[in-house]
Symmetry: C2
Subunit: 567 residues, 2 copies
C-alpha cells in the first residue's frame, strides 16, 4: 500500500513538476471556411480546427513553438503572422505574405517554427490581403521562466481578444476599396468579445436561418471569477477598423503589461485599446457576488455606428448566462481625444524593468500619414508614397539579390516640414505608389516620427495604430499638431519609456519611436487597420540581410521565386 502511494506520488510529481529546460510546443492546425454565427448573423468564417478565435498558444519563455498549418480554404491561400514575436533568427517565420513568404496554397501544409524569447501577451492572425477579418486569429500567452517573479500578483490568468465584425466578405470589402469610384467598407456590424457579439437581427428583414439571437454560438462571452480572487486579464484588440474602449462594470483595472513589457501600474476605468495592442490588467472580484457584471467595449475616435460589444464578468456560482440586473455602462465620449492621449502618455516602463534607450539616434525618419486619391483610386500614403506589395517576397528578393522585383529608388525620409499644412486635405494625385523599402544600417538606432494629418475630408484626422514587425520600439513621446524637430525631441522620455510593438498615432498628432535595427531580415511597419494597409499605409525596413541564415524553401514558389528552393 505504502509503495503504491509512493509510486502515485512520484508519478504526480513527474507530471506536475516544473520542467526547467525549454520545450517544443507543437500544434497542428487545419484552416477552413465554415458557416458560423459569431454575432448571431450566419456567414462564412475562417476557422482553425473548427474554431474562431483559434486555439490559444500556451508556452513558456524560451520555448520553441511549431505550428503546422494545413490550408483547406478551397481556392484561397493563407499566411499567418505571429504578432509581437520578434522572430530573432527566424525572419522567414514572420508570416507576412509578400514580405517574408509566399502564400500557402490550398492543400499545402506550412510549418512555422520560432522561439518565444520573452514572456508576455501576443497574438496571431492572418497576414494576407484582408484575410484577418474573416476570423483567422488567436492568442499567444508566454509565461515567465520558472524562477522568475513578476512585479504583481494574481490568482488566475485569462485572455480575451476584442474585434469588430463585418457581414460582407473580405472579397467584397477589398473589391470596393480598390474600386473606382471608391466604396468604403463602412462601420462594422458588431463588436466581438472573444469571438462573440450580438447583431440586432430584427434591424433588417433577415430570416431566422440567417440571423437568430437565440443561437448559442452568439451567447455573450463570460469570464467566470471566484469572489475575492484577483485575475490577470490579458486584453488584446484585433479590430479591422475600430479604436475601442473596454470596461468592466463596477471594477477598476490596473494596467500592468503592454505588448509583453511590464508597465508602471496605473488604474483605469476605461481601457483604450487599438488594433494590434495587448494589455494585461488586474481585476479583483471584490463586488457584490450575488450577481454578474457587464463587460463592455465601445467604438471611440469614429462616430459610433456600431452597437457596443457585451460580455459578462460571471461571479461564481451565478449562472454564466445570467444577465446583470443593470443597464450596461455606456462608453466614454467617442470624439474626446484627450483621455486617449492621456492614457498613451501614462504608459511607462515598470521601474524595475526599464530598458534604457540609446540617448541619441543614427537616423531620424518622419512618416507623414495622409489620405489621397491617385487616378481616381483612394489610397493612404506615407510621405506621399502609397505602398504596394510586390508578389515576390522582399526577404527572398533581398537575400537572392533579385533587385528588379522592387523599386531601388529609396523612399523619402520626410516631407516638406516647412510648408505642408497638416490641417487641410491633400489635392488629388499629390501622391504616387511605390514598393521601395527603407534599408537600415545593421545595429543602428533609428527614430521614427509618425506625423498625422488631415484625411480627404475637411476637419477630419483619424487614429492609426502602427505596428512594427520583428522589433519592439521605445515610445519616446506623443504630441499634438506638427512635430517640431528642434523643440519636441527635448521632451522625449529617455528615462522610463515603455517598449511596445504597436502604438497609436492620434488625430492631428505625432508619436515618436526609437528602435535598434538589430534583427536581420525584412520587416513590415504598417497601420494595423486592415483597410488602411490594404490601401497603401505601410513601409518595409531591411537590416542585416547578409546575416540572415539560409532561407527555407517552404517560403518560396511565388512571383520570381517560382521553382526556387527545390527540396
Amino acid at each position: 500500500m505504502f509503495l503504491k502511494l509512493l509510486a502515485l506520488c512520484l508519478f504526480a510529481f513527474l507530471i506536475y513538476a516544473p520542467i526547467a529546460e525549454a520545450r517544443i510546443r507543437h500544434y497542428k492546425w487545419e484552416v477552413k471556411y465554415e458557416y458560423k454565427s459569431p454575432d448571431c448573423y450566419k456567414k462564412l468564417v475562417i476557422t482553425i480546427n473548427g474554431k474562431s478565435p483559434g486555439p490559444t498558444i500556451l508556452a513558456q519563455e524560451g520555448d520553441t513553438v511549431i505550428v503546422e498549418v494545413t490550408n483547406k480554404l478551397l481556392l484561397e491561400n493563407l499566411a499567418i503572422h505571429w504578432h509581437g514575436i520578434r522572430q530573432i533568427g527566424t525572419p522567414w517565420s514572420d508570416g507576412t505574405e509578400g514580405v517574408t513568404q509566399c502564400p500557402v496554397v490550398p492543400g499545402d501544409t506550412f510549418k512555422y517554427e520560432f522561439k518565444v524569447d520573452r514572456a508576455g501577451t501576443y497574438l496571431y492572425h492572418a497576414h494576407y490581403g484582408m484575410q484577418r477579418e474573416s476570423g483567422l486569429y488567436g492568442s499567444i500567452r508566454v509565461s515567465v521562466p520558472d524562477n522568475f517573479t513578476e512585479p504583481f500578483a494574481y490568482d488566475y490568468d485569462r485572455s480575451i481578444i476584442l474585434t469588430d465584425w463585418y457581414h460582407k466578405s473580405t472579397y467584397e470589402q477589398a473589391t470596393g476599396l480598390s474600386n473606382k469610384p471608391f466604396v468604403w467598407v463602412g462601420e462594422p456590424q458588431s463588436l466581438l468579445i472573444q469571438g462573440k457579439g450580438r447583431f440586432n437581427c430584427t434591424s433588417s428583414s433577415l430570416t431566422a436561418d440567417t440571423c437568430n439571437t437565440s443561437n448559442p454560438e452568439c451567447s455573450p462571452y463570460a469570464i467566470t471569477v471566484i469572489p475575492g480572487k484577483t485575475y490577470r486579464l490579458r486584453v488584446a484588440s484585433l479590430t479591422a477598423l475600430s479604436a475601442l474602449s473596454f470596461q468592466i462594470e463596477g471594477h477598476n483595472m490596473t494596467v500592468v503589461e503592454a505588448d509583453g513589457h511590464y508597465v508602471e501600474p496605473f488604474v483605469v476605468k476605461n481601457l483604450f485599446i487599438y488594433s494590434g495592442e495587448t494589455y494585461s490588467v488586474l481585476i479583483k472580484a471584490d463586488q457584490d457576488p450575488s450577481r454578474n457584471y457587464w463587460m463592455t467595449t465601445n467604438v471611440v475616435s469614429r462616430p459610433p455606428n456600431t452597437t457596443q460589444g457585451l460580455g459578462f464578468l460571471n461571479y461564481y456560482p451565478n449562472h454564466p448566462r445570467r444577465s446583470p440586473p443593470t443597464v450596461p455602462p455606456t462608453g466614454p465620449i467617442w470624439n474626446d481625444a484627450a483621455p486617449r492621449l492621456a492614457q498613451s502618455r501614462a504608459i511607462k516602463a515598470h521601474h524595475d524593468f526599464i530598458v534604457t534607450p540609446p540617448t541619441t539616434s543614427d537616423r531620424v525618419i518622419v512618416f507623414l500619414n495622409t489620405q489621397n486619391e491617385i487616378n481616381g483610386y483612394r489610397r493612404w500614403s506615407v510621405n506621399n508614397v502609397s505602398f504596394t506589395l510586390p508578389h515576390t517576397p522582399y526577404l527572398i528578393a533581398l537575400k537572392k539579390k533579385l533587385h528588379h522585383v522592387f523599386s531601388q529608388t529609396p523612399p523619402p525620409e520626410g516631407y516638406d516640414f516647412v510648408n505642408y499644412d497638416i490641417y487641410v486635405p491633400k489635392i488629388p494625385n499629390a501622391t504616387t505608389t511605390s514598393n521601395a523599402i527603407y534599408r537600415l544600417g545593421f545595429n543602428t538606432t533609428v527614430d521614427i516620427i509618425l506625423q498625422n494629418a488631415n484625411t480627404m475630408t475637411p476637419n477630419n484626422s483619424e487614429t492609426h495604430p502602427w505596428h512594427l514587425h520583428g522589433h519592439d520600439f521605445w515610445v519616446l513621446g506623443y504630441g499634438e499638431g506638427k512635430f517640431d524637430m528642434n523643440k519636441d525631441p527635448k521632451n522625449y522620455n529617455l528615462v522610463n519609456p515603455i517598449m511596445k510593438n504597436t502604438v497609436p498615432l492620434h488625430p492631428y498628432g505625432w508619436t515618436a519611436l526609437r528602435f535598434k535595427a538589430d534583427n536581420p531580415g525584412a520587416w513590415l511597419f504598417h497601420c494595423h487597420i486592415e483597410a488602411h494597409f490594404y490601401m497603401g499605409m505601410g513601409v518595409v525596413f531591411e537590416e542585416g540581410i547578409d546575416k540572415v541564415g539560409e532561407l527555407p524553401s517552404s517560403i518560396m514558389g511565388c512571383g520570381e521565386t517560382k521553382g526556387f528552393g527545390k527540396p
Copy 2:
C-alpha cells in the same frame, strides 16, 4: 494618280488577303473580382479584362493560341480549361487544377499555349473548385481553313453561352456541399443568355443599390439580324446545374454542328442542351420583320424553380431593346425525358464527314453513377468510389513517378451488374473515396458505358452531362434502364455515330461511348455539373505518359512539386 491607286489597292490586298499559314493568336488577360449585375442583382463576379463572359477567342484551324493570364483575384488562385480543345502535344495546357497543373497564385501570370487543330465551337472556363460559376468563362470559335467548304451555308456567325446564376458565392456554395449535414446549393436564381438575365428584384426586400431591373448591365441580350439572311448561331451551355431547352420564337433551328463535328442536319423547335455542350444551329430571319422575337431558355429535367432566361432576336432596324409584342413561349414539359432522349439519338455524323469508329474495343469500363453518404457527408460516386483530387497534379506525379501522391490501387471497371438495383437509393456508407486513376494502354480503343441510377431520394434519377478532356468520343448509343452487356452492344451505331466531348446521361438510362486512347497525358472525365464534380463525380485517365514531352515548370509548385522546375 494611277500609281497611287495601285499602291492603295496592293496595300488593301496585303491587309485583307487570306493568309494561308497558321497564325499565332495572342491574348493578354487580367482576371479579377468586380461588382457586376448580370441578372440585375449586384454581386462579385470574376471578370476577364473587365468582362464576364470574357473575350471570345477567334482563330482559324491550325492556329496557335497563346493566352497570358494574370491573376488579380486578391487571395484566390485560378486555372482555365480550354473545353473541347484536345491539347495534342500540350497536355500541360489543359488547365485542369490538380490534374494537369498547379493553380496560378495571385500576382502570377500563366501562359497557356496550344494549337486549335480542328474548326468548331469550343469554350473556356475556370477549372478550379467551383470557380467557373463566378463568371470566368467565354467562347472559342475556330474557323475552317481557307479553301474548305462547310456542308451548309450562312451569312453571319454569332455565339452565345447559356448559364445559370447563383447569388451566393462559390465559397458559400462549396462550404455547404462539404458540410455535415449537407447543405444543397439549391436551384439557381436566374438563367443568363450571354451573361445577361433578369432576377425578380421585388421578390425579396432588396435595396435598389443591390438589385435594380433598370440597370443596363442586365438588359436582355439581343442578336440583331437582317431580314432574309441566314445565321449560324453557336449555342453553348456552361450551366452549373441546369439542363436547358433553348428556343427562338417563331423560328426553327437546323442543327448542323455539335462539339466541333458536323451533324447530319435536323430541325428542332426546342434545342436541349447540357452543361459543356456546344451546337451550331442555322436560323433564317424569315419572319415578319416589323418586330423582335423572344429567345428563351428554360430548365428541364429538374423542377423548374428558376425563371426562364430571356433574350431578343432583333430584326434590324427595330430597336434592339424593344420587347416583342407577344408573351415569351413557355419551354417544353420539364419532366418529359422522351424528347430529350430522342434529340440525343437524332444526332449523327454528317454523311460527308463520318469518322468510322473501330468495330471493336480493347477494354470496356462501366461507370455506375450513384449518390451516397460517407460518414455523414453527401457524395457522388462512380462504381462506388467518390473521386478526390490530390493537390499534386497527376500529370506531374505520373511523369516524375511520384507514386505516393495518389492511390496505386486500380479503381473498379464496373459494378455488381447482376444484383445491383439501379431503381433504389443506396444505403449510407456504401461507397468510399479514392484518388486512384484508370491507366489506359496507349492507342487502345476504350468503351465507356455510363450507367445512371437512383439518387438518395426515392424515385429520382438526374441528368448528368459527362465531359472528356483531351479527346472526342464516338457516341454509340443511348438506352433506358440497366445496360445489358450481351444485347445492347448489338444495337450500337457503328455506321455514322457523332463524335463529341460532352454527352448527357439520361435519368435511369445509359450512354455508350468509344474513344481511342491516343493522346499522351492525364485527362479528366467528369460530370460537368459543378457541384457534382466537386462532390466526387469524376475519374482520371492516363495514357502514353512516357510519350509526354518535357513538362513546363510553370505548371509546378504545389503539393509534392513545390520547388520543382527551377527556371
